[in-house]
């Protein structure tokens, strides 16, 4: 009824290739952005902003990064957390060594370092294919974790390996309360999301998908596999690095290798798989699922039972429900939440008529 493309004629290819060709989608996007930027800050309390929305956004960014690599370019990676760590530590080190440097530069630096490392560990992808490629990224994961734990230079010789992240300042404003942090994170994440969307619909994006879908054919039509794959690794780890820096500065307030362990890498992989490979919205949906559901269940646990059942039992039931949910969603829609959203839209397109 309300979701109709009919009658929306594109008079130019430009219009047809715009980011959201369908009018209603654009509206929806504007509304969402408005909510994110204007409504949430008003209605949400510090708990919501600080410990639910910000982590959610940061991890979505990481998931977005991985989705570039795995979803678009088809290269599996189990080292996202390591690249996050690189971002965090690079940012921190630049910051403590050159304190007067503008903050956005610090974040960019974090991203770029991570991108460089990512490309190095991406090199094997030229020879190793499929699930075997996971080994390269796993090597990155464990090696980098070990590196940061062992060499005190990275932690600026602090007595304990854990560093408290220095305070953030952007254009002279102190970014110290959840609200301001939320705005910074949100802005960065939204920009990145649009950036990736643009890449996905232009030459590079097509090259990535070509490599993913059929690398021999891609090569035969003149796509340089090596360059394309490495570019994917670079962009992906750039986003991960950015996410890592944000995680350290905006979420935890500490920089420690243990915060970026293998478990985190798996989490991020789960996000894009559950959210939907090769779609920007998938990254957000997946992150929502993985980040919010446990917190939600945990809250419900204490909310509903009110301490009648031991917390231990609740914790274990949480695990089970979480796992059950994953399987359930797969059976309902194997291609992830993003696809589910698609189907919903197609249904909406025909509503109220069945065909």
């Amino acid at each position: 009824m309300f979701y109709r493309e009919a009658g929306q004629f594109k008079t130019s290819y430009e219009a047809d290739q715009s980011i959201l060709p369908i009018f209603q989608d654009r509206i929806a996007m504007y509304i969402m952005l408005m909510f994110a930027f204007i409504v949430f800050p008003f209605i949400a309390n510090d708990y919501w902003l600080g410990s639910i929305l910000i982590p959610f956004l940061v991890l979505s960014l990481a998931a977005l990064g991985l989705n570039v690599l795995t979803g678009y370019a088809g290269q599996i990676s189990l080292g996202s957390a390591a690249f996050m760590a690189v971002g965090a530590f690079a940012a921190f080190n630049l910051h403590v060594r050159i304190p007067e440097i503008p903050f956005l530069v610090v974040f960019l630096w974090g991203g770029l370092c991570s991108a460089a490392v990512g490309m190095i560990f991406g090199l094997p992808s030229l020879r190793i294919k499929g699930f075997y490629l996971a080994v390269a990224t796993l090597a990155a994961q464990f090696f980098i974790e070990w590196l940061f734990t062992h060499f005190d230079w990275f932690t600026n010789y602090s007595t304990s390996g854990v560093i408290t992240a220095p305070p953030m300042h952007i254009f002279g404003f102190a970014i110290d309360n959840p609200l301001s942090k939320y705005f910074v994170v949100l802005t960065i994440v939204v920009l990145c999301a649009f950036g990736i969307r643009n890449l996905a619909r232009s030459e590079i994006g097509r090259a990535w998908m070509a490599v993913r879908d059929m690398d021999i054919a891609a090569e035969a039509i003149g796509i340089n596999l090596m360059k394309t794959k490495l570019l994917a690794f670079g962009v992906s780890s750039f986003l991960c690095g950015l996410a890592g820096a944000l995680w350290a500065y905006a979420v935890l307030g500490t920089v420690e290798p243990q915060a970026f362990d293998i478990i985190r890498s798996f989490e991020i992989l789960f996000m894009i798989i559950i959210g939907g490979l090769g779609s920007v919205s998938g990254a957000f949906l997946g992150a929502g699922f993985i980040v919010l559901l446990p917190i939600l269940l945990n809250n419900l646990g204490s909310l509903v039972t009110g301490g009648a059942i031991s917390t231990e039992t609740i914790a274990h039931i949480e695990y089970m429900i979480f796992g059950a949910f994953i399987v359930f969603f797969l059976i309902v829609e194997p291609n992830g939440l993003a696809r589910l959203w698609q189907i919903g839209k197609e249904k909406l397109r025909l509503w109220p008529f069945p065909y």
Binding site: Y13, L199, D213, G222, I223
Partner: protein, 263 residues
């Protein structure tokens, strides 16, 4: 042989000289030489496993022969990556369709133009400046191809949902998008019904005439081959047993034997 030489209306674009190709013990091609002349349609025929596809794979650089060499426009071609060969102006389709299944027909054909596009990360991230312009320009070109192949209606549909015949067309479109000088078609009409075959023949001929593209195609349907090709080369067990005008080849003793399995 001489009747061929007589019939050269055009000059040599590629020549394959005495190539040998073998996988482990299996000899796929033995001392095969083949000349490809500009603006001609060359058909390679032969029984299954005669090494036809191997020829195409050598031309498009997916295989490199152990012996022999390939000359492109008079100069020898060393070991060279397929994507560079594509840049030289050689495009191809595959025997079993090799489309990018995750993408729409439009995107598939657009990807075919990637090698004509400029790459710049930042510009594309912001989808600004020349990045945007080139998208529009190439989109126009692609639309022309889409019109030419009469697949306007399925533009936006994911290729995985398209019927076989249409997929073949899209793949042809992807190859054409690169505006190649030499177009390699690996069984473009396999598994098609009569109408589809006729369409495809028309496309092939049109491409050859309108764009003046040289075409090498592999085909089993003798009728088709004899109708559309200027020259026919016959492979059998990795050896070239005949090469000439369709009518001569049809009359050739060795060819008949090869097909009827005599001798």
């Amino acid at each position: 042989m001489n009747n061929v030489v007589k019939n050269i209306k055009s000059n040599l674009i590629m020549s394959i000289n005495h190539v040998n190709l073998s996988f482990g013990g299996l000899k796929a091609l033995v001392d095969v030489s083949l000349n490809i002349y500009e603006k001609q349609i060359l058909a390679i025929i032969g029984p299954n496993g005669a090494g036809k596809s191997c020829m195409l794979n050598i031309i498009s650089g997916i295989y490199t022969p152990q012996e022999g060499n390939v000359e492109w426009k008079g100069e020898k071609r060393g070991k060279i990556a397929p994507h560079d060969i594509a840049k030289m102006g050689i495009a191809r389709t595959f025997q079993n369709i090799a489309l990018f299944r995750g993408m729409s027909a439009l995107d598939n054909i657009l990807t075919g133009r990637n090698l004509l596009m400029k790459r710049g990360l930042l510009a594309e991230v912001f989808y600004a400046g020349w990045a945007k312009e080139q998208e529009i320009i190439h989109r126009k070109k692609v639309e022309e191809i889409i019109d030419f192949l009469e697949i306007q209606s399925v533009r936006k549909t994911p290729v995985s949902r398209l019927p076989y015949g249409i997929q073949k067309r899209v793949e042809l479109g992807r190859a054409l998008a690169a505006e190649p000088e030499l177009l390699l078609l690996d069984e473009p009409m396999a598994g098609m019904n009569v109408e589809e075959k006729e369409d495809m023949c028309r496309f092939v001929l049109d491409v050859n005439e309108q764009f003046g593209t040289t075409i090498v195609l592999i085909e089993h349907d003798m009728g088709v081959v004899m109708d559309i090709s200027d020259r026919v080369a016959v492979l059998d067990y990795g050896r070239k047993i005949a090469d000439g005008l369709p009518k001569d080849v049809r009359a050739d003793k060795k060819v008949i034997d090869a097909y009827l399995g005599v001798g």
